[in-house]
């Protein structure tokens, strides 16, 4: 079983949505953090260069229209070759009037880069600009952070001279720092993302646990192991379970009322019929007898059709072994003279997914026929396979003629049109089996251990999980 949730589950949906959105969130966050940090660092660099500009301004002197700078500046990095801090003073034509000792070994291309190629326009006194000159073809060592400051220097002859002071610092340390920051940010955010996903997975499992519990309860309900949803649920789910329980109870009560009403109706019709029958018997009136028998069959048939129903949630799964036991005990009593001998091969795990009254009616009618028409020996086998319940019942009687079995087994055949002695009970059983989308066949003589008489094979859908395939001998 995979640890990851499937995409069609609620947890799966939330998890995979997070899996898609979280990297996007991390990328955006990382980018924002990086830009903020970079901006902050560049600002600091700008301020640092600004102070160096002021240093150069304070050291500069003009004599005879020529700029004069001391040989040694207060900032030692200006005096040290390739120190990474360079100073330049340019005139209006971008001619280098002075360059710091640190830039003495800089290649001409780099100086040109700093002095001409990427300067921000003509000199405008008072303007300070931060810029990052870089040569697309140059190596990383030629990338700089530079600050230019334009001034107008008043000369003695009431003239003024426009000058541009440029201080450039090697960008490499800042670059390394920014790269390191970016990597650290990625690592931290990535790690936090993964951790967040795992925590979210756990939270979702915990948060949706009541739904899982509800699902398990619904399954036990469907399997007939319980008749209502049990347990306490969170405030969001409790109203649903309460309403479901109320619905189930109401439905069960309504079914019971319906069933009782129909039984009462049948009772109130059948007693007058019994009175008429008794009088008809006294007067030997065959027409009345015939019509009473027909009315009786119609009542029985319609009553049976009205009360039978398919499996509904909340209905108990009926253990076939228990029902068979009840019926064999009962029939032993009714057919005591026949000294019935039952051979039962019952799988205890066989459950009928429906109403107990319907199972009693199916098995009662079939077994009653076996007792009535057999010679006292009856074999019952039950098994289940692929969610199908199989019940086979055979006797040692004469069997059933093919014409009768054909009429009875026709799907939807009306049991109330059957004549007494032609298997009305079987027709009722077939009717119920059909209503459960099951099947029934009748053969003369079934496979061992079945007997040579009529063998009724019943197949019914079974919704319950199976745990055993081997039938037990009862």
């Amino acid at each position: 079983m995979s640890l990851l949730p499937t995409a069609n589950s609620l947890i799966g949906r939330l998890f995979y949505a997070s899996l898609l959105l979280l990297p996007l969130f991390i990328i955006i966050s990382s980018s924002l953090l990086y830009n903020a940090f970079k901006h902050s660092r560049e600002q600091a660099e700008n301020e640092r260069l600004q102070s160096h500009i002021y240093l150069l301004l304070s050291a500069a002197e003009i004599e005879n229209s020529h700029i004069w700078m001391p040989d040694v500046l207060a900032e030692p990095r200006f005096n040290q070759q390739d120190s990474g801090l360079y100073g330049l003073i340019l005139d209006e034509q971008n001619t280098i009037l002075w360059q710091s000792a640190s830039s003495a070994l800089l290649p001409a291309t780099t100086l040109a880069l700093l002095s001409r190629q990427q300067l921000p326009g003509p000199i405008i006194p008072g303007r300070t600009l931060f810029f990052q000159p870089s040569d697309l073809f140059a190596t990383a060592t030629t990338a700089f952070n530079a600050l230019s400051h334009d001034i107008s220097w008043a000369l003695d002859d009431n003239h003024e001279r426009l000058l541009r002071f440029i201080v450039a610092g090697d960008n490499k340390p800042l670059s390394i720092e920014l790269d390191a920051y970016r990597n650290r940010t990625w690592q931290w955010l990535g790690g936090m993302g993964v951790t967040l996903l795992l925590i979210q997975l756990l939270i979702m499992h915990w948060g949706l646990l009541p739904l899982k519990q509800l699902s398990a309860q619904l399954q036990t309900l469907q399997q007939g192991e319980s008749q209502c949803l049990e347990g306490q649920y969170p405030a969001e789910i409790q109203p649903i379970t309460d309403n479901l329980n109320s619905l189930l109870t109401h439905e069960q009560q309504q079914r019971e009322r319906y069933r009782n009403s129909l039984a009462d109706l049948a009772h109130s019709l059948k007693t007058p019929l019994a009175v008429i029958q008794s009088h008809a018997d006294s007067n030997s009136d065959s027409i009345i007898n015939e019509q009473i028998a027909r009315m009786d069959q119609i009542i029985h048939h319609q009553l049976q059709r009205a009360v039978q129903r398919k499996v509904v949630p909340g209905q108990q799964g009926i253990n076939v072994a228990a029902t068979v036991g009840t019926l064999t005990r009962t029939l032993d009593k009714v057919y005591r003279d026949k000294h019935l001998h039952w051979s039962t091969y019952i799988d205890e795990q066989c459950y009928f997914s429906g109403d107990e009254a319907d199972l009693l009616e199916i098995l009662g009618n079939v077994l009653d026929n076996s007792c009535k028409y057999g010679q006292g020996r009856i074999v019952i086998t039950t098994s289940h396979k692929d969610n199908e319940l199989a019940i086979d019942i055979s006797d040692n009687g004469q069997g059933i003629d093919s014409r009768t079995s054909e009429v009875l087994l026709r799907r939807g055949a009306r049991a109330d049109t059957a004549q007494p002695g032609q298997g009305i009970g079987l027709a009722v059983a077939v009717d119920i089996i059909s209503s459960y989308d099951g099947a029934c066949t009748i053969a003369n003589g079934g496979p061992k251990p079945h007997l040579a008489g009529a063998c009724v094979s019943i197949r019914l859908p079974m919704l319950l999980p199976q745990t055993s395939d081997s039938p037990k001998t009862g």
């Binding site: 006294s282 009840t326 019926l327 009714v334």
Partner: protein, 224 residues
């Protein structure tokens, strides 16, 4: 055979009483469960016919209470609810057989005969003791393969004695099983009945089928 019929529908009750009386049963009736339960506890019936849907006390409850009180007579359940759930419920409660309404009178008689016969341990409707044979289904009596015509009470007396062949049957027991509860137990009608029976099944006086045990009652004196 003394029979208790508990049925609340008056017309069906009257009709069945008439029919069963004609068939030789001594019938006591009750129109509700409580009265029926009381009668069943008070009198030694050979069989009871109980409707399930009864006022005051349900038929199932009547049967359950009888069985709890060790009343062992066979019980035929009359039910309008012909489904197996109700049949099983009735039989598990203590009923011995069921009959679904509406039914033919002949079927009722056949079921009653079968139940009384079974209760006395006889599987077949034909019971033979020595030269005497009776068919409980057709109410025919044969003595040494010769049919003997008996009145209803004579037949009932002989049938009861044959169903209880190994017992000494007191006069009062015989009276209780042959006549309904209104019969005068002090009359000597039983002695007259036994005398007539002896003459009819043993006209020559060779068999001496019924022995009188002074102060105790009668016993069938034939080898089984």
């Amino acid at each position: 055979m003394r029979l208790l019929l508990i049925e609340d529908e008056p017309r069906l009750r009257d009709s069945l009483t008439n029919y069963l009386t004609r068939e030789g049963f001594s019938v006591d009736v009750a129109d509700n469960g409580e009265e029926g339960h009381y009668l069943g506890c008070e009198h030694p019936y050979d069989i009871a016919v109980v409707d399930i849907g009864l006022p005051r006390m349900d038929g199932i409850e009547v049967i359950t209470q009888w069985r709890q009180q060790q009343r062992t007579f066979p019980i035929l359940i009359l039910t309008a609810r012909g489904n197996w759930q109700d049949k099983v419920q009735g039989l598990e409660a203590g009923g011995d057989d069921y009959l679904v309404k509406p039914f033919h009178n002949e079927e009722l008689r056949a079921r009653l005969n079968a139940l009384t016969r079974r209760a006395s341990g006889h599987a077949s409707p034909e019971i033979t003791i020595g030269p005497l044979t009776i068919n409980t289904a057709h109410k025919v009596v044969l003595v040494q393969a010769r049919e003997v015509a008996l009145t209803r009470y004579e037949y009932n007396t002989l049938e009861y004695m044959m169903l209880n062949a190994d017992k000494v049957i007191s006069k009062s027991e015989l009276t209780e099983h042959l006549y309904d509860q209104d019969f005068d137990l002090d009359s000597n009608v039983i002695e007259v009945l036994i005398g007539r029976l002896r003459k009819k099944i043993d006209p020559s006086g060779d068999l001496k089928p019924i022995a009188t045990l002074r102060g105790q009652g009668y016993r069938l004196a034939l080898n089984q």
